[in-house]
């Protein structure tokens, strides 16, 4: 008899502890997320250029790092390329010119968003083709199934009786 309120207490303590732990974890995650990105002291000529810098440094991949963009990485090459990106922007180069500049030197590897060309058709359209293939085969299967006649099911008399029984119950 006494065990029940006890168990209740334990449950409540566990709940409170769990909540505290998860909020602590969440706050750690948020803090580390804020302090992770390296800080440069670039002075931009206007707000639009600053935003373009931020977008491009996120879209461009650091050539040395396996999976970090220029904005995230503190490797030597990423620092140099951020500086270079800044210079190109200050020179008034367009986004496309900057992307072409980087691709000419470092190849398609620097792009997180692959360019649309013959070799990348499968990347861009592959999923769509597979999806359409599934839809088409689904339609075929469903149509075939709806066309099945009762006589083609080859039910034994016992099964037929059972089926009639179920249908008539309604």
């Amino acid at each position: 008899m006494h065990t029940q309120p006890n168990g209740h207490y334990i449950l409540q303590i566990a709940k409170v502890l769990g909540l505290a732990m998860s909020s602590l974890l969440l706050s750690f995650l948020l803090i580390s997320n804020v302090s992770a990105s390296p800080v440069d002291t670039f002075q931009f000529k206007d707000e639009a250029t600053k935003i373009r810098f931020q977008v491009l440094s996120k879209e461009l991949r650091c050539p040395k790092c396996q999976n970090q963009n220029l904005a995230d990485s503190n490797s030597k090459i990423a620092v140099d390329l951020r500086k270079n990106l800044y210079n190109l922007l200050q020179e008034g180069k367009s986004d496309q010119e900057i992307i072409d500049f980087m691709v000419y030197r470092y190849g398609d590897f620097v792009l997180y968003r692959p360019q649309l060309k013959k070799q990348t058709y499968i990347l861009w359209f592959g999923p769509l083709v597979i999806f359409l293939g599934f839809i088409i085969s689904l339609v075929f299967v469903l149509r075939k199934r709806s066309k099945l006649k009762a006589s083609e099911l080859n039910l034994s008399s016992a099964e037929q009786a059972n089926l009639d029984d179920i249908l008539n119950k309604k």
Partner: protein, 183 residues
């Protein structure tokens, strides 16, 4: 027909398995340079040893030019340095240095201490030429042929195995091309 359809999932599974299995043995660090097949870009940078002397593309004389990107902050460069002294003896090639985003005094000290394998070293303090040929670290070694086209970029230190496997076949190939071009 029906029986083939039944095996489609198995076939797909095997194909995917083969694809992923192969992926396990790919080296994600080995990246083809985008500069292969392109001409070495024009540049104007000072010499490392003589700061008032400006160097350009035409100063890299030689039929087969090896351009070695190095810096004193690069630990692997120290590792490959003795071997560079070795291949500098090869009469078929001319070895040039590209001192990449480095300190001039430290670099000069390095060459004094470990000996200088280069015909000359370009002093690229800002990494301008390095950027133009897509350098992403050091050491890197570029092979430029007799027509001024970049034929190869090798990222990482050169040792005997790398030299024999990666460089010698290409050098021999360029030599045959030169012989064919001359005849």
């Amino acid at each position: 027909m029906k029986s083939i359809i039944r095996f489609i999932p198995l076939i797909l599974f095997i194909l995917l398995g083969v694809l992923l299995y192969r992926g396990l043995f790919l080296n994600p660090q080995s990246m083809p340079s985008a500069m292969i097949g392109k001409p070495l870009p024009e540049f104007a940078l000072p010499s490392l040893t003589a700061s008032e002397q400006m160097l350009g593309r035409d100063d890299l004389q030689g039929d087969i030019v090896l351009l070695n990107v190095w810096a004193t902050w690069c630990i692997q460069c120290k590792y490959e340095h003795p071997y560079l002294l070795n291949i500098a003896q090869d009469p078929r090639i001319k070895l040039y240095g590209l001192n990449f985003t480095d300190d001039r005094n430290a670099a000069l000290q390095w060459l004094k201490q470990y000996k200088d394998p280069y015909v000359l070293s370009i002093f690229d303090e800002q990494g301008a030429l390095g950027l133009d040929i897509g350098v992403f670290g050091a050491p890197e070694t570029f092979v430029i042929d007799h027509t001024g086209i970049i034929r190869k970029r090798f990222a990482g230190p050169i040792n005997d195995m790398v030299w024999k496997k990666e460089f010698l076949p290409l050098i021999e190939q360029i030599e045959t091309e030169m012989a064919q071009g001359a005849s």
